[in-house]
């Protein structure tokens, strides 16, 4: 019971923070290219640095289990899967986390994307399509061995990185014009919790702390991993429709119902709570073309999430902080997928002014 409650709590906190800040990982990566916002690199790096410092720091205090061995991975499967996932995230106007947030705030588009993801993800991980997934994982296999990953070096590197990046964020906030404030109805804490768009700088630090603390908390319950989205969502389908020989994703724990399963539910609940207290909740129906895009995006994220062993969160923000070579490799293709889809689908829609 405590396992499920703590997973749910982390999900609620994360969902609330993401909703209140309008944080969108796909949007951050997309806008590095579309809007030339290089500053977004610092925002993403801040999450990884803060989380990495907590993870490796607690690892040295023996409060987090840093594995001796990370499983080998297929260069082909990870590259193809991550590329497809990145494209799907742009087509869906947000990755799986955004999809869960949309489910919480009443956007039916999110639900459509989620259903398409679950059906496809189940098909290629536990259904007839799992043989294709196994085949893709069977060649160009490399070891995920980074020398010194369990030494004191990562603690020092992430500590320096965290200090430098947080200083960069602080300086940016001080030297740039204050962002436009939406006219508010409330004051004080009610304004902060119920209607203010939280600035991105403290938001990314909070997300880094949440993701870092997820390791010791879920580890306490026997799940030695951080935030994950793909397998935890699919764990609901695996529970409802049990299958044998499931082709797993970013970690071996979440194919079973548990901490991760409740984390993803918590994200929906956190988004719902933030939306209701802001009096923003309403059912928003997509038009036909948006609905079709959601299906296509969900299918691509289903294929990509399983073949790429994870999503923008598990590979892009969690595995990178763990210094997994697989996740850094996946991140390259996730970014390429997002930029490729932005170039082909979004850029042509812009008129020259």
């Amino acid at each position: 019971m405590a396992t499920l409650a703590s997973g749910l709590l982390f999900g609620v906190l994360f969902g609330f923070v993401v909703k209140r800040s309008r944080f969108c990982m796909t949007g951050l990566v997309r806008d590095i290219y579309l809007e030339k916002r290089l500053y977004n690199i610092a925002l993403i790096a801040a999450i990884v640095a803060v989380e990495g410092l907590i993870y490796h720091g607690l690892g040295h205090l023996h409060l987090v289990r840093i594995p001796f061995y990370l499983p080998p991975f297929s260069l082909v499967s990870i590259a193809l899967g991550s590329l497809l996932f990145g494209i799907g995230a742009v087509v869906s106007s947000g990755c799986l986390t955004s999809t869960l947030v949309k489910c919480g705030d009443g956007r039916v588009a999110g639900l459509i994307s989620l259903v398409a993801f679950v059906l496809t993800g189940y098909f290629v991980s536990a259904g007839p399509g799992k043989d294709v997934s196994k085949y893709l994982r069977s060649f160009f296999i490399v070891e995920d061995m980074l020398p010194g990953r369990r030494s004191i070096i990562p603690v020092i590197v992430f500590a320096v990185l965290a200090v430098v990046i947080v200083a960069v964020l602080y300086r940016h906030r001080k030297t740039h014009p204050k962002p436009f404030e939406i006219p508010g109805r409330y004051t004080g804490m009610r304004h902060v919790l119920c209607e203010k768009n939280w600035p991105m700088e403290p938001t990314v630090v909070i997300i880094g702390i949440l993701m870092g603390l997820a390791f010791p908390v879920s580890g306490h319950f026997g799940r030695h991993f951080g935030f994950a989205i793909v397998s935890p969502i699919l764990s609901w389908a695996y529970t409802a429709f049990p299958a044998r020989g499931i082709v797993g994703s970013c970690n071996p724990y979440d194919t079973m119902f548990g901490w991760g399963s409740m984390l993803v539910v918590g994200i929906v609940v956190g988004s719902l709570v933030a939306t209701v207290v802001a009096r923003e909740f309403s059912i928003v129906l997509p038009d036909a073309s948006t609905a079709v895009k959601m299906v296509i995006g969900g299918v691509l994220m289903g294929l990509g999430g399983v073949w790429g062993h994870g999503c923008l969160i598990a590979n892009g923000l969690v595995g990178t902080a763990q210094l997994s070579l697989k996740s850094w490799y996946a991140l390259v293709f996730l970014v390429l997928g997002i930029w490729m889809a932005t170039r082909l689908l979004l850029k042509p829609a812009l008129k020259k002014g």
Binding site: R22, C24, G27, P179, F180, I182, P183, E280, A349, K352
Partner: protein
């Protein structure tokens, strides 16, 4: 000069921003543009773009139907 009205309800980011950018590209100097949207993330990126592009924000309202309307002048 007539003001331009754009409805992007049901569309998610970055489509409302693209719609605003396109309208600004076609608008005459001083022309007003009113854009209605339901994407919550656009409450950040629309005003941010206006601020960066030097576009004047005339009003920013939350509507009863749970959408938002931003009115700007080029």
């Amino acid at each position: 000069m007539e003001s331009v009205k754009i409805d992007t309800k049901g569309q998610d980011c970055p489509l409302p921003l693209i719609a605003l950018k396109n309208a600004l590209a076609e608008a005459e100097e001083g022309q007003e543009i009113e854009l209605e949207f339901t994407c919550p993330e656009a409450t950040v990126n629309l005003p941010n773009h206006c601020q960066e592009a030097g576009v004047e924000i005339l009003s920013f309202d939350k509507n009863e139907s749970k959408s938002w309307t931003i009115k700007v002048r080029k």
